[in-house]
Symmetry: C2
Subunit: 469 residues, 2 copies
């Protein structure tokens, strides 16, 4: 059935598509023909690891008795197969239908991400796999894995095993090297890059449990150390950078993607300000009272380390706002809801790549339907030149984990994230959410058929498989 | 292990409790004794169907080597077993602990309900069973089943099979007589009454599909019938009451509880006003322009029918507001969020039983934690005499189905409904939600252990079984 020699991805093809659609099918009265073959032509590359330059364009030609998926790379073939499987509709019991025609398709943005937070609540592997399945069905291509945060450190570092031993919620709520590799393979097989985030210098309370002297000791008003109260990573110690160098060396080995997300958001200066050693350091370096300079000092050294590992990086927008010296190919992740168009403009004007998350914080829920507003948010909708707009590489939906774990992750995320997916893939001209609604309804039902517990798209309705959820 | 001769409920005992706690357990260092027996004494009744007079009080005595659950009825034994199972805590791998002591417990309110809507979205039986399991764990004792509504009619009537044949979303999205019986048994085994709601005369669009001439034909401004546009049930035709009589006769046979919920909410008068036959009827009966009188006319006849079936009834508050002549034991269900304390007062002052739902519409969701406000809502917190407050039989949490189906029902409902459950069971003096928080956290984890995908109680945290969800 498949003529393509990209063995690893090929295996994924076989299991994923059509499996429940080809057995015992009946002919439909008045049909034009019977599709017995899908020919998949991959012209250039049989890559096994999706990357920044991945080519996802494809053509589908459907004729009376066969169809051809034509693409430059295996990633285009994957996207084409997804589309083809969605073009097949039910016509009755064991009857399926597809219209004759041709489709030329390619994504509008190269970075179509989804962020998952496995620190606020631990997420078992099956929840991550389900997320990756859902992502593939909606043509997302970057899994931004917010692995660790203040609350827990589930990532197992072989260099610093104490980080997860003491920083994970529980000894079995961890991601071992094997787990990470499984997730990477699972994602890559679906044409999804994996970008890990190790957010510093803030959001690191859990790091301190397994790595003594990493966090800043906080002091009280009388100048005494507060027992067991720590702030962000201590930026003035050489040991900090030795630790960071070794940890990121391991991270770079573990995650093959060109990019690592370095975080850099929401650094609280209160503890830094209270610490006499840091006060002294501020004086020596003529930073005055501007602790953003101390933050920049840290980030600059972090960036040097990561660059020496031949990795590029994504940072949250504060790193740009604080005027850290970042390289041109750096991706600035705009997340603050207020004034994001201005921020996008400023980042692009400075010549950096920019990635929008601000309008797609799916963790913020409310009563009723909210995907309309996700659909109507456009990453290039700011007052910029064409050159500036071209620096927008895409966007990503974020599902922060404060109130989310495996119990509600899938149902809460989907189908709301479908709106983000279509915004990032389809042409800008697709603006009318009313047209999108029946598509998302159908997509939700498709996802349910594959076992994903996706919630209703809006008010009262049903899928043909509601009795099987 | 169990000394009680209530065979049907006894079977439920065996499977439900302790099953995963008794195998291969290890002794704890320094323990006082080892509990090898739970003696259950039921003094009065081995009822098999929970009812309005069910006695749920129980006493638990825990001694060094055994414990005794003492109750008047089997329902008290069930509640006691639930409590006992919750008193057992983990002390390590295969190690469990329980403190010696005595508990005397009984519910504050006799009606502790949970309402599920299976019309806006169809709910497969497993979703209803899971809900009943969760209800039992939280000592709810009434399952208010909002079976049908405008959107679909999944209840299979053997008297009027066309109602579900034409009114259900799909031919298999139905509740057959066997399904209804299974649900009833499943609920009754857990000490839960089943009260079906057949809401009329509004909310009946789906009824009209299978029962011609039941709904009111709407007319346009020029006095012409609008094709296929219908309003509430037509209250002026004899055929309407013949239909209602037969349908409720079947309902009373199918559901053994003393009460049926008759609905009566949100009747739109627009269509009634447009219909010339109804206009004529209004004149003949000297109703003037007050269509609430027409509604009362309908409800009064409905109530006569149900009374003749020897059933009592619950109605939504509009029936009381419209001054329908209702019998004293009628339960008025207060649901409107605005001014519910005044409404409670008025209903009780008129001498009726009153049931509060207004502050417990769990379908209204928002970002973050909202169970605090459910916990702080008290059904007797209105300006009334003690006699009036005594007419408050309890309350119920409602999960309307516009945005809810089996994909998100359990995770969205629980643990939020735990707050309602505790409010309705525990003494009024339990007011501090801060004290309740750790209980609900633990309860959530217990529910997860039984396979219920219950969402986090509030911000970042974990259960010991997060990896097993």
């Amino acid at each position: 059935m498949f003529i393509v020699d990209c063995s690893r991805v090929n295996e994924h093809f076989r299991g994923r598509y059509f499996s429940n659609k080809t057995e015992n099918f009946n002919k439909i009265h008045g049909y034009d023909g019977q599709m017995t073959m899908v020919l998949i032509q991959v012209h250039d590359k049989c890559e096994t690891i999706p990357n920044t330059d991945m080519n996802e364009a494809y053509t589908i030609k459907i004729d009376k008795d066969h169809s051809i998926i034509d693409s430059k790379s295996v990633w285009g073939a994957l996207r084409g197969l997804e589309t083809l499987s969605q073009m097949i509709t039910r016509a009755g019991k064991n009857q399926f239908r597809i219209n004759i025609g041709q489709i030329n398709d390619e994504p509008r943005f190269t970075f179509r991400g989804f962020m998952l937070d496995s620190s606020r609540h631990y997420l078992p592997l099956h929840a991550i796999y389900e997320t990756l399945d859902a992502m593939e069905m909606n043509k997302f291509n970057v899994f931004h894995w917010h692995l660790v945060d203040d609350q827990s450190f589930p990532f197992v570092s072989t260099t610093f095993p104490a980080l997860s031993e003491k920083g994970a919620y529980r000894s079995n709520f961890i991601y071992t090297p094997e787990d990470v590799q499984k997730v990477s393979h699972y994602a890559n097989d679906r044409g999804i890059r994996v970008i890990p985030e190790f957010d510093t210098p803030g959001h690191t309370q859990s790091w301190g449990k397994g790595q003594p002297n990493l966090l800043t000791q906080c002091y009280d008003a009388k100048g005494k150390p507060k027992p067991n109260v720590y702030g962000p990573i201590n930026p003035v110690l050489n040991t900090t950078y030795e630790f960071i160098q070794k940890l990121f060396h391991e991270i770079a080995q573990r995650f093959p993607d060109q990019y690592i997300h370095l975080g850099g958001d929401e650094v609280e200066f209160g503890c830094w300000k209270s610490n006499p050693i840091l006060q002294e350091f501020m004086k020596t370096n003529h930073f005055g009272d501007d602790y953003a300079k101390l933050e920049s000092y840290y980030i600059t050294k972090l960036i040097d380390i990561v660059q020496n590992l031949n990795r590029s990086y994504i940072v949250w927008q504060e790193v740009f706002d604080n005027k850290v010296n970042i390289r041109p190919e750096t991706v600035v992740n705009v997340w603050k809801g207020n004034g994001w168009p201005t921020e996008m403009k400023n980042v692009a004007k400075a010549g950096h790549h920019v990635l929008l998350s601000a309008c797609w914080y799916l963790n913020y829920i409310g009563y009723g339907t909210d995907w309309y507003k996700y659909y109507q948010c456009d990453p290039q909708n700011f007052n910029g030149t064409q050159q500036e707009k071209n620096l927008v590489i895409g966007g990503e939906a974020c599902m922060w984990g404060e109130f989310v774990d495996a119990s509600n992750l899938i149902s809460r995320t989907w189908p709301r994230a479908c709106a983000v997916a279509e915004r990032l893939w389809s042409p800008e001209s697709f603006k009318d959410y009313k047209n999108a609604k029946p598509r998302f309804h159908e997509q939700r039902c498709r996802m349910q058929v594959l076992g994903l517990k996706v919630e209703p798209i809006e008010g009262p309705d049903f899928c043909y498989c509601d009795d099987a959820i």
